[in-house]
Symmetry: C5
Subunit: 354 residues, 5 copies
């Protein structure tokens, strides 16, 4: 199954703006969680469907609506008309192969990107698409399946005096993005810890398992890079956006995000380069080892060649070979053989072949 590109056969030739789910369904039916909060109140509840729900009016508490599961076209259409969402946005929300993206509309700001998790069991970065639509006093977020990294934010929401409870949904969006980017750094850190250890292992034990592991880490670093690079673009657009939905008070925090994404990118680039260095180191070390082995064996063989030749000569059956009849011929020839061996060893030493 292609990991870098999602199958989009259903999409071919469809009317643009159709909310056709692209991806793998990871939950039976969507799960809806609605948190209404203001400086003084906090309501947190799960709902089976959208029945009876309306966007919060001006003056009402801020609303965070999170949907886990993107395959229910009916739900999406309902949401779309209820919150007056552009159809092209809905199409992007349900396309799990969508490229990370920031777009500002007159009444909504739309952000989509990947959440990354390091799956230790498969030495593999797993990803889940996260989309958010920011409106005047509500924030819609979409995930592929239940379970996320936002619990610290939900905890901070319970602190009535905290900045979260006293700010608008733009600050909530920032807080979620901050979680996501912290997790990027975390993922890179986990990869990096192993990568920085390869150096020594290559010198000590360049097994073929190590080579395979290096290649796995290269692939995973590439995978992270694919997610992080467009994320930088997104944050930069968010910094520069003229939409009033992102308030001036939230802007310094968004700039801080840019900082973090840049640091992640720096680290990704350093590890990519390091892995590529590791590969060439591995190659050099392997080549040197093999060369040493072959050289040793060849020299060993070479040393015996003139000796065997001599033995062959005195194994010939000529009638008149005077040496054969010398009293100590045999011992002399053994001595000569020993001398040749010593001389060759000395020559090899002198030539630094040994």
């Amino acid at each position: 199954m292609a990991r870098f590109l999602k199958k989009r056969d259903q999409q071919l030739g469809r009317t643009p703006g159709s909310p056709v789910f692209i991806g793998q369904q990871k939950i039976d039916r969507p799960r809806i969680r609605k948190i209404d909060y203001s400086a003084s109140t906090l309501h947190d509840a799960f709902f089976p469907d959208m029945e009876g729900m309306t966007p919060p009016q001006a003056g009402e508490p801020c609303c965070w609506l999170n949907i886990d599961g993107l395959h229910d076209a009916g739900l999406m259409t309902t949401l779309g008309s209820l919150f007056n969402l552009p159809s092209l946005v809905l199409e992007d929300v349900v396309n799990t192969g969508q490229r990370p993206k920031f777009e500002a509309f007159s009444e909504s700001v739309f952000v989509t990107l990947k959440m990354l998790f390091f799956d230790r069991d498969h030495t593999m970065i797993q990803s889940e698409q996260f989309s958010a639509i920011l409106q005047d006093n509500c924030l819609l977020t979409f995930q592929e399946k239940p379970g996320d990294i936002f619990d610290p934010v939900r905890t901070r929401l319970q602190n009535a005096g905290g900045r979260l409870r006293n700010s608008g949904p733009d600050y909530l969006l920032y807080a979620l993005l901050d979680c996501i980017f912290e997790n990027y750094l975390k993922a890179v850190e986990v990869l990096g810890e192993r990568i920085e250890a390869f150096d020594e292992e290559i010198l000590e034990d360049p097994s073929s398992e190590l080579l395979e592991e290096i290649n796995i880490y290269r692939r995973e670093v590439s995978y992270v890079r694919k997610a992080v690079y467009p994320a930088k673009e997104i944050v930069l657009r968010m910094v520069r956006t003229e939409s009033e939905l992102v308030s001036a008070a939230t802007q310094p925090f968004v700039r801080d995000l840019a900082d973090m994404v840049e640091q992640t990118m720096d680290a990704v680039d350093i590890y990519r380069e390091m892995l590529s260095d590791h590969l060439s180191s591995y190659n050099m070390v392997m080549n040197n080892k093999l060369s040493e082995t072959m050289k040793f064996l060849t020299m060993f063989a070479t040393m015996f060649i003139p000796l065997s030749f001599l033995a062959g000569v005195y194994g010939m059956n000529f009638e008149s070979m005077p040496e054969l009849h010398f009293k100590h011929g045999y011992y002399v020839i053994l001595g000569i053989m020993g001398g040749i061996a010593v001389a060759m060893l000395a020559y090899f030493k002198k030539k630094h072949w040994l």
Copy 2:
């Protein structure tokens, strides 16, 4: 036959703006299809030539005129004067080696690019040139031969309440480009599915057929890249164009195209890099395999060298070689040979050569 550059001998020294066909003729005579549509009406018909045809007047239904086959200079000249087309545009339309291009004139917008199809039989991306000229309420499109990927658009045109029937020719142009770019992604997806599978095959069975296949996929990915890169430029120019022929209502859709082209480019770049990694992996695996083989064989040979030497020594014909007359000389020497063999195996083991 050069696939990346078309022969243009007829073009050398010609007056600029001459509609000289450059390419391979793929159909006997051009085929003309005219679809007139408005919110309430729809006429779809084939015509043998341009006789009696006129550009639609303001207020008349929108007209989509598609021509399959570009070699008929007479037809092109007639079209040019009928629709008042710039001669340099006509020259580009009939040049199947034309670089993808967007150009806005006062009364026309001109777009040309390649349609891509994956030809499974030859593991090869096939391309066909598509050109479009957008005017006030008509759209002219040109293809090299009959048969295309636009049937879903034609089907949607039959839906009287749909956006296509209620928008101008600029939205129709968008719909056609959307089909073309969906097919780009489709082509990359087909390539990518195979490419992502190479990883494992290289480790398991690095045959020379696999190497050839990797090289074929590199060539095809390069070919797609050649088409997609300028396509991005085109869409970006279309987004930024000041021509009133592209209406504000259509602009968000054009931006969505940019999105899709960027995703295609990302995928193309990832697969390019992956294939290059595959090549070096293949090389490493092959090198390792060969080295292992050679090392094994050399060690095997080396082990016998001192044994054969010993046999040679005792095959010498010296008169006085006391060992030959020892009672168990033969068995002793066989034992010594066995001992040497075992010692060497132990040494190889210790040196990790085995």
Copy 3:
């Protein structure tokens, strides 16, 4: 002789603006051809020198003055004062190592670039410098030697109703540049046709002649690239120029040139990349072939090693070697040898070394 940089010893320390010829003299004395044309008249004549010539007055027919041969400093000085040319321009005209360049002065526009020809006899791109100075109603052009690619333009000049006869010298300049750029594409096409054929040859017959040929094509593609890259800059400056000497009517044609140069650059880049792929393919194929050969030969040798050892053992002269006296000892040992050979072949097969 350095092909990529011209000797400029005479230039060291000279007063700037001196028309010192840099290059190889290719003609005995300069050849002057003057074509005066208007919608109604056409005069074409060769002249031995500049005597009596004056720049055309306003209202007089347009004048195209072509000089073949750049080494005559006197002629250049005469031209300079007659047409009031900036001295730095004259210096550039006679420097055949001048980088391609576009410069707009108050009363002149100056363009210099290389004409390219594919020399089939030496598989080599030949180049000749072309310079042009555009003034109000005259065009001066300079070449290194007689013979050029502009005959189609001269033919079109005879067509009294054609655009050339009815436009100013800026359109004539465009027509000449169009010829030059068509020839760039032609040169790249000729190189490309051979380059695209290398692929198969490498797989079938990777001879060392092929390697040399690939390297020759790399050098030539580099050479073309050196000429085409700055040519693009030139055309872009010509598109953007504010000089009134390039009329609005000619601008669309200049933009079309940009198109063609970009296509040439695309092709050059593709062929560069292809050649670099070819080199690594060649290397891989050669390596595989050699490895196969070496592996086969080594295995062949290895198979005989234990057999020869056995023969050696039974060639020893020990007094008591019971096997030697067995009735069928010889046949038994031959059978054992055959068995060992078969076993080793089976082992090699199992290990996929055969």
Copy 4:
């Protein structure tokens, strides 16, 4: 322990702006040093805590407050409220993994970057984070541990007539940055001196220790590059800043810093390239050496092959082998063997294999 990325587990999910220390604690309790200076006065003292300290009022002497040790959250919070520091700045100050950064606020300018030292004992660049907050007439600086490179600045502060005593805290900040960047250049110079010497050593004695050393230097140059690249960005932002805290009189000095950083970057890039050249040189030299060795040994072996074959032939036990009974057969065959050896040597010479 990952050297290129700091563990930030405590940071995951925290409220933004919390001064959570990220890094390794290198001192027991923070050390505070306060220098108040004006043209006429100079007070220099150490303090155990912030008790009783207040920011200097306008007109009071300039204050330089340096804190060594970043782990004391209480101290940081006190400082923050006393000097009215943005909470995001405090968070960056105590994050020793923070990317180098310049940010201008309304009443503060914030700079953070790394100080580099070459640790000769471990052939390793060590780094320490330096942060500075510039306010109207005070400068706060933060380091990870006591001991720094600023003593020359402190010495110059004692010169009552010097520019330092007569300028504001912006010039003091410049003087500190100047020290830091001088040390960058120094570190690169130390690396470079060794790197430039590798060239010859590779030709003379390409040991595997040398290879390891080259790889160590590559890693250290990478490490320096990671610090210097963002430093350039910082200085450029400082040059372009519109903050009035950086006075016009200090600007030429800041531009001079940019100069120095660019020179450092140039040097880093040159040494990177040089090291990469060294690696390929090393590889070539090693390959050539091995090839020479193998070729020599193989030729040596080859020369004996036909000789041994001949010996084998005349070791056969056929009843009728006339040569065996020739009177001088033995000497003739020895002569033939000598002749073959000489002929082969001559052939090898002719083929330039020797």
Copy 5:
């Protein structure tokens, strides 16, 4: 001694703007040469020190003051106060490791760069720092040691009617820079002539001396590149400068310099690429040669293996080996051996191994 970075130990921690000499002293005491020129007058003299010298007043002849030798801090300080030079400029003038630089002040324009000379004896580019300070009607220039490339300029200064005598010090500065850049091109040309000849030598005689020479040329081309790249920046800043010290009449000449620097950079890049191609060509040629040798020798050895085995078989001492007693057994076996040899040669031929 590090060639790419100058030792700057004295600089560490010094007050910014101190004229501390960095580099190698190449002359005992500085040499001062003063040329005063106007359209009508010319005075040229050497002076031991600055005593009695004053900057020329408005209306007085133009003054060119050249100082050879930068180590005399006293002289520099005198100059600085006399001509009112910024202290940071003085610091740069005496730092021979200063990066090339252009800076415009209110009353001075400062330029510093390297002069390059090809030292044939050591196949090495030598460099000397050149700095110039342009003021209203005087030009100060600084070199490391006596002897330069400006004699042609001094000669042209004697021509009372020439442009030099009739222009200001900005044109004189241009003339000096023109000399410097001509020498850059000259140096590249000298390198290039040898580099372009490597191609053939690699095919004919790929000795290890050639490899070393290629590496030397790579290093020198890198060295030139280090000087030329920032020189381009300088000229571009000079073209764009708004300082009135560079007059409009001189601007076209400065643009012509830009042209020349760009051509030099083009050439440097081409030769860099060419050298890198040469290295891989060299490697391929060497590999092919070695492979051919090894293959030949291995095949030679292989051919004898079955023959020696046969000889071994008939050297066995079994009692009953009927072949040994055949009348023509010996000749038959010799014939069989010959047959095997011929068959193997045929097989090798068929497999294209020969």
